[in-house]
């Protein structure tokens, strides 16, 4: 999924922080993926 120009990499890197936070503090495992559903 194309998120746009390279500046969006900053957002993706922050999204990984979210991913790691979920893994470390909530889900306690790494068997999940961040997904996006687009309506329509």
């Amino acid at each position: 999924m194309d998120t746009g120009p390279l500046i969006m990499a900053r957002t993706l890197e922050h999204a990984c922080m979210l991913w790691l936070g979920l893994m470390a503090h909530s889900l306690k495992h790494g068997n999940f993926a961040i997904g996006v559903s687009l309506p329509g």
């Binding site: 999924m1 390279l6 890197e13 790494g30 993926a33």
Partner: protein
């Protein structure tokens, strides 16, 4: 199908290398540890090869699959050998204790990598939100995984997307 070069020999290198091989690409693996690169090439199969670390990658698309803490030095070491290549940054510049980022507040990992890469190297961000094992295992309950891509060059991004999907592998290729 072209060649995909991968710098690194860890879990993400294995997962992405496996995807690339199954999509019909030749895969070249390089690592500071030549033995690990050779072992990963054997694991990937499909005639994957081990290249010399620091030597010019054979692929036009180069996956930078090393930790961010090593990424800048690796890119500096390759230097002009990355000129004209599409450099896929899969890193996350996050401190090991998750307390923050390793990059300056006004910057981000891909930007720092682009700064040390040759001027005509095209940096594309991808795969950084994926876990290696999840990526390798493919769709989750029938849903393809989202691989987010960011970059300033639309053609380069399209090439990265095409490189990891093929019609005969569409059932499991997670990139969309």
């Amino acid at each position: 199908m072209g060649t995909i070069s991968i710098i690194g020999s860890g879990g993400m290198a294995a997962s992405i290398g496996g995807l690339a091989a199954k999509a019909g690409h030749a895969v070249e693996v390089t690592s500071r540890d030549a033995a690990k690169a050779g072992a990963l090439a054997l694991e990937i199969g499909a005639d994957a090869t081990a290249g010399g670390f620091g030597e010019a990658p054979s692929g036009d698309i180069v996956i930078l699959a090393v930790p961010y803490s090593a990424a800048l030095d690796v890119v500096r070491q390759y230097g002009e050998k990355l000129a004209g290549k599409i450099l896929v940054d899969i890193t996350n510049p996050i401190k090991s204790d998750l307390s923050g980022f390793l990059t300056p507040p006004d910057s981000f990992g891909a930007k720092e990598i682009a700064k040390v890469a040759p001027a005509n190297t095209i940096v594309v961000k991808a795969f950084n939100t994926q876990n290696a094992r999840v990526l390798a295992s493919g769709p989750v309950q029938g849903h393809p995984l989202d691989v987010f891509i960011a970059g300033d060059d639309a053609q380069a991004k399209a090439r990265v997307r095409r490189s990891l999907r093929a019609s005969d592998c569409a059932r499991w290729i997670p990139v969309r």
